[in-house]
């Protein structure tokens, strides 16, 4: 049971003073100046630990069972609350709510995936890359005359930009939805949304003598057939597209692997590296340089894993992360921050979500191998957190942990006997992975609690909760059967190509792109719109929303969509008009299918999810809150993500910018 903090205690903590300032008082009771112009001037210290995807029900249960003593200690010092998440509860959307202090109408990130209104083709929501517009060709080589650039599409100011304007120093470590990092003098390094060097969300390479074992069109990886001849494998390692060359071929690196004729050991020779791996051994980071033309190259880092030497040769190579020592794309502010971390720790994970869920999902890595890889991620996070804590003396430190999210996605199937992918044998070994992950988070929190002084405000948060993913909805198939979407051939059973190539737009009124988004095919907005904007669109959106909420799964009798939010009812802010018309809030256990988000129209409306990607968080915001813990009493009974932004403003005595919609959780 938490108790509201007395104003006296709040003052002692150095926080109440700031809160008073927010009400217009120029000074705290002790006469401490509150708005401080420079780094050394603020005595206030705020640490925000962000554990992606930590769920309040599971956290609460394991606290009750005595398994999370540090979280229990933090709760007893202040408060534990569910933290209202975004609509929809996707990480880029939810973290943007926190970053900008708004709902998606304010920051314009509505989904992982948006669409091009001219082509209906899916696009990244978070960033856009623009290549050089002026080039000159000499022979087969094209030289850019002006630089290409990458843009962060999130709108509004990030809270650390506001802090900077008021002289409050901040370090923002891998917060999602900040790629490329927005301009600031604060120390920031990008997280979720940061691509690998191929420009993708993560593409592993897999060299094997048995490529037929892996589906040829796997997401997130490339499979290469190799041959063992005289105990030697020769292959080409594909790098980024070479936009300097006419046909844009990938930059390739030749490499060789020499197999020990007797033992399960091999030597890899690539560029200036020569290293020996035993079977089932990871190489650690290796730096590769991809040369476009003699004067231009890009540096990347990756890890090799020798899965098997014989009878079948299998070599996995992680997605090539941007090299923090020589970043080909912008990942940090100032740029020297990434270099500084690299000097201290050596190469480190820079790709958005570093654990390779695609490799696990496609059977390239097994459960144990995936966890070994993710353990590297977690250990690295822990070491870098210590480094930041060592030098943290004022202002704000935000620190992000990804493993809590990634492991819940991949291991829910072994926690839950009802899951279609449950496997009793695997569950014996890995059924406790999620619980162990929460305990690791607890150990990390314990470490932080042991390192901070009593005046430091500590907030521990997650962006959303988690639930099982049993059944998939093919939204575009539902729209087709409901008469809102038509294929050019009415007798065609399905269309499995992405981007709606067989959709008859002249007869289509609505379509789904992204993980929660449904758009009305509006005249004047979409290239081949059919529905008038305004009243006609509004009426159609409400009609479809009602039908979606009424739709039940014939297999279970349950509703598939818990809430179909009409955007106009839930979004405010300058960018509300860019939102999809309907945001699907799925019922517990349901999610969009893997194929519908990219504009496919499969045959079945509903399917079992038998993949290893078995836990998810695409549900209604009401059923998937995140967590909030504070080492001070919290007045707010139902805090939301954007309230934490308002809290940070209040704590540092900054008048809340008008676009921010939250209120301080400490406000009485």
């Amino acid at each position: 049971m938490s108790h509201p903090i007395s104003r006296r205690d709040f003052m002692k903590a150095g926080l109440g003073a700031a809160s008073l300032f927010a009400f217009g008082s120029p000074r705290g009771a002790a006469g401490t100046p509150l708005r401080v112009p420079g780094r050394a001037a603020t005595r206030l210290k705020v640490i925000v630990l962000g554990f992606d995807g930590m769920d309040p029900k599971m956290t609460g249960r394991w606290i009750q069972e005595g398994k999370l003593p540090a979280f229990e200690r933090l709760r007893s010092m202040g408060a534990f609350r569910p933290l209202a998440t975004s609509v929809p509860p996707q990480s880029p959307v939810a973290w943007s709510n926190f970053i900008a202090g708004t709902n998606p109408g304010g920051h314009a990130i509505f989904d992982f995936i948006h669409r091009d209104t001219k082509t209906y083709f899916p696009t990244f929501s978070a960033s856009a890359t623009e290549e050089a517009t002026k080039t000159i060709r000499i022979g087969n080589t094209i030289f850019p005359l002006n630089g290409g650039k990458v843009r962060n599409l999130r709108q509004g100011r990030a809270f650390w930009q506001v802090l900077e304007e008021h002289g409050i120093p901040a370090t923002i470590f891998k917060i999602p939805a900040n790629y490329p990092p927005v301009p600031t003098k604060q120390r920031t390094i990008s997280g979720l949304g940061t691509p690998d060097i191929l420009g993708s969300y993560g593409t592993f390479q897999y060299f094997t003598t048995e490529p037929q074992e892996i589906h040829e069109d796997i997401g997130g990886g490339q499979v290469h057939q190799v041959y063992v001849i005289n105990n030697r494998v020769e292959a080409k390692f594909p790098g980024p597209i070479n936009s300097f060359k006419k046909d844009r071929p990938p930059v390739e690196i030749d490499f060789k692997v020499y197999l020990d004729p007797q033992n399960a050991v091999a030597k890899v020779v690539i560029q200036d590296h020569e290293f020996i791996l035993r079977e089932k051994e990871w190489s650690g980071w290796k730096r590769l340089r991809f040369s476009y033309i003699p004067t231009q190259s890009a540096s990347g880092i990756c890890m090799f894993y020798l899965k098997e030497v014989r009878p079948h040769f299998r070599l996995y190579v992680s997605p090539i992360n941007i090299d923090p020592a020589d970043a080909a794309l912008p990942i940090a502010t100032p740029e020297s921050y990434a270099v500084e971390l690299e000097r201290k720790f050596g190469p480190f994970f820079t790709k958005g979500l570093p654990a390779d869920t695609s490799a696990l999902d496609n059977g390239v890595l097994d459960d144990g191998e995936f966890l070994e890889q993710d353990a590297f991620v977690f250990e690295e996070s822990r070491a870098m957190l210590d480094y930041e804590l060592d030098r943290f003396d004022s202002g704000l430190l935000f620190y992000y942990i990804s493993s809590t999210d990634q492991r819940q996605h991949m291991f829910w199937r072994l926690l839950d006997e009802n899951h279609p992918a449950y496997d009793a044998a695997s569950a014996k070994t890995y059924g406790g992975v999620i619980e162990r992950t929460y305990k690791e988070a607890d150990a990390l929190l314990d470490h932080v609690l042991g390192r901070i002084d009593k005046d430091t405000l500590l907030l521990v948060m997650s962006d959303h909760g988690f639930n099982p993913y049993y059944r998939s909805l093919n939204l575009n198939t539902w729209l087709r059967r409901s008469g809102y979407l038509h294929l050019t051939n009415d007798f065609k059973q399905e269309d499995l190509d992405i981007g709606f190539p067989s959709t008859d737009w002249s007869r289509t009124k609505a379509y789904g792109v992204g993980l929660n988004s449904l758009y009305i095919n509006q005249k004047g907005r979409e290239a081949q719109g059919t529905v008038e904007p305004g009243a006609e669109t509004d009426a159609l959106a409400r009609e479809i929303a009602r039908k979606l909420e009424d739709f039940t799964d014939p297999k279970t009798g349950e509703r598939v969509v818990f809430r179909a939010y009409v955007a106009k009812d839930v979004y405010t802010g300058a960018h509300s008009g860019e939102a999809p018309e309907i945001i699907l809030g799925f019922n517990r256990g349901y999610r969009i299918s893997f194929s519908s988000p990219l504009g496919r129209v499969p045959r079945e409306i509903l399917e079992d999810n038998s993949s290893k990607w078995s836990g998810d968080h695409m549900g209604a915001a009401e059923i998937l809150p995140g967590i909030l813990f504070a080492n001070r009493a919290v007045a707010a009974e139902n805090p939301a993500l954007y309230d934490l932004t308002a809290t940070i403003m209040a704590v540092f005595g900054i008048d809340k910018p008008k676009e921010m919609i939250g209120t301080s959780i400490f406000k009485e």
């Binding site: 082509t119 899916p122 990244f124 691509p195 997130g220 997605p319 695609s358 981007g499 990219l598």
Partner: protein, 63 residues
Amino acid sequence: MGNEKIKIDKALVDKLRKLAELSGYSSVEEFVTHVLEREVAKIEEAGSEEEIKKKLKGLGYIS
């Protein structure tokens, strides 16, 4: 703006001329330019779509 000459088989040129007239183009050059521009745009679009497809695929939520 400079002009380049391209050799095209005579039978095809005859066909193009006929189609240009039927479609209301003022010249065969105008017709050929229009058709080529449309085809090139398609190819460019397909290339960028392929790249987008590859990039999105690493996102675990989709396949």
